[in-house]
């Protein structure tokens, strides 16, 4: 197909003597939502800042629409094709939502029609409100509207739904999916794994400065052989630990326990035999969260 919109090759970065990113390579193209996941300190923010030219590059290559990130601040033709939502950016509080929209649309030669944008983002209800009085969800919707106003090709979303309630987040996801449908390349960092699971076509899992996975959420979960058993059991925890394939047992409220096993059928057979009073049984497949934990932990162990 055509050239990737973002191209990263052998990217390395360190703060002093501490390496943060090691030999990262990836291509990203239009019409996909890519989630960069990783524990705190894994290098997500550094990666985004390098891509936006907010940090000076040390080693390796990044091309944003074929150009070096340092050009973003110099060339409006390049920055005009990017939409950015920065982590916890707040808006100057004294302007109203409408004024803020008007100011930002003056930055672009062909901005989206404000009326359309306002309806699409559900901003009608609080156009005359000062930005300082917006709720978390309203503020993030406005910031997303500002990011999309110039009809960008690439959208950077750094922790976009922090502080949003469940409904606001669901609506926000709809807007992001709509942007994907228009062919944007969307790069998302998030702490919410359910968000990555719900939105992303691709997950780049960052661990110790390297991509340890670059695959779809489904494939990531399928690669995980663990499943979980939850039940009421009178057996002592030590006995549960001895069951086949058990890696972890957690005591929940009441007599509930949660058992993680990679031989869930064998484990169940023995469990039912040993505990005839067992009840409230559920078995669930791995969540992205478990995949995340397992992947980030196992590599940590093999490295030691």
């Amino acid at each position: 197909m055509s050239e990737p919109l973002i191209r990263i090759r052998q990217l390395c970065h360190s703060y002093g003597n501490t390496p943060v990113l090691r030999q990262l390579s990836a291509d990203m193209s239009g019409g996909e939502i890519i989630a960069v996941l990783g524990a705190n300190g894994a290098g997500k923010t550094t990666l985004i800042q390098l891509m936006l030219g907010l940090l000076s590059q040390q080693q390796g290559e990044i091309k944003i629409l074929g150009q070096a990130p340092a050009q973003i601040r110099r060339d409006p033709q390049l920055s005009g094709q990017l939409g950015v939502m920065l982590q916890q950016a707040s808006l100057p509080g004294q302007l109203t939502v409408l004024e803020q929209l008007r100011l930002f649309s003056a930055y672009y030669p062909a901005p989206l029609d404000l009326q359309t944008l306002i309806e699409r983002f559900g901003l009608q209800g609080f156009l005359q409100q000062r930005c300082s009085s917006l709720s978390g969800g309203q503020r993030q919707s406005l910031l997303l509207a500002l990011a999309l106003l110039g009809q960008p090709k690439i959208l950077f979303l750094d922790e976009p739904t922090v502080g949003m309630d469940v409904q606001a987040r669901q609506r926000f996801w709809q807007l992001i999916r709509a942007a994907r449908a228009e062919g944007l390349c969307i790069l998302l960092t998030t702490h919410y794994l359910e968000e990555a699971d719900a939105l992303a076509d691709r997950i780049l899992l960052l661990k110790d400065g390297q991509f340890i996975a670059d695959t779809s959420p489904t494939a990531l979960k399928a690669g995980l052989n663990q499943r979980q058993i939850r039940c009421h059991s009178s057996l002592p925890l030590a006995a549960l630990q001895q069951l086949p394939g058990v890696s972890n047992v957690v005591a929940l409220a009441g007599q509930q326990v949660q058992i993680s096993s990679n031989q869930v059928e064998n484990c169940l057979r023995q469990l039912l035999q040993q505990d005839p009073q067992l009840c409230d049984l559920t078995v669930s497949a791995a969540s992205l969260e478990q995949a995340f934990l397992q992947l980030t932990q196992t590599t940590a162990e093999t490295q030691q």
Binding site: G80, P92, L103, A106
Partner: protein, 255 residues
């Protein structure tokens, strides 16, 4: 070469919008505007009219007007830029396609308008209450000198705003503003200060702004006017260079 990002008319519209928004922001912050307007006026009425029984009303008009116009320059650029920086707003602007000039234009314009308002208020107090009589040409040149004289202070404010944290900016700027005014001879005539301080004044921009103003009413200390202008211009150039460097460095300090 590529065609320009915005057409000329779009560019004009952008500069207008930026100015409108910065003015609205200022206007909706009475906690900023009111002290900026009230302090020079109250000081003038107290020291220039009541306590000195109007004897030095002319001289002190220049003093407090110069003191007054420094305020919005230092604070609108200093404290407000520091806040915009802390909010991540400045970073968002830096990576947006907006030319940085439009942002500076908006801020400068609102500073100048606020400075003009302070000058006019003081002129009204001087003419109507303190009985100051000047030729029209003197009123006009005084206003012009003071307005142009705010530029080095705008740049000083900008450099500070790009350097200080949002929390420390207001206090630090006061720590610079008030001594600058006092040591530049804007509160007490320099003759009343010790000799060492009188010599220190010669390197302060506030002193040279004051002298340009006093020259309009014939009460300066006698340096040629171009010396004052040259010192203020030199300050402006150095501060412009510093501010540009700080601006470039902005992004690299965020982590």
């Amino acid at each position: 070469m590529n065609s320009p990002w915005l057409s000329l008319s779009q560019r004009v519209a952008l500069y207008k919008t930026e100015a409108e928004m910065d003015l609205k922001t200022l206007w909706r912050t009475p906690g900023f505007i009111l002290p900026c307007l009230a302090f020079p006026v109250l000081f003038y009425l107290l020291f220039g009219v009541v306590l000195s029984k109007g004897q030095h009303a002319e001289y002190l008009l220049v003093s407090y007007a110069a003191f007054g116009v420094m305020g919005p320059a230092l604070f609108n650029f200093g404290a407000n830029v520091a806040t915009e920086r802390a909010q991540g707003w400045l970073t968002l602007k830096q990576i947006s396609p907006a030319p940085i000039g439009s942002w500076l234009f908006g801020k400068t314009l609102s500073c100048l308008l606020l400075a003009l308002l302070i000058i006019l208020l003081l002129f009204v107090c001087a003419g109507a209450i303190a009985g100051v009589r000047l030729y029209t040409s003197q009123w006009l040149s005084l206003a012009l000198v003071l307005l142009l004289g705010t530029i080095p202070f705008c740049l000083l404010g900008l450099t500070l705003g790009l350097t200080l944290s949002a929390k420390s900016a207001p206090a630090t700027i006061n720590l610079i503003y008030l001594p600058l005014a006092f040591l530049g001879g804007l509160w007490l005539p320099l003759q009343l200060l010790p000799t060492a301080l009188q010599q220190l004044a010669l390197v302060l921009p506030s002193y040279h702004l004051g002298q340009l103003g006093y020259a309009v009413i014939g009460k300066d200390r006698g340096e040629p006017w171009w010396v004052n202008v040259a010192v203020l211009a030199l300050y402006s150039l150095v501060l412009l260079w510093l501010a540009a460097r700080r601006f470039q460095a902005q992004s690299h300090e965020r982590r």
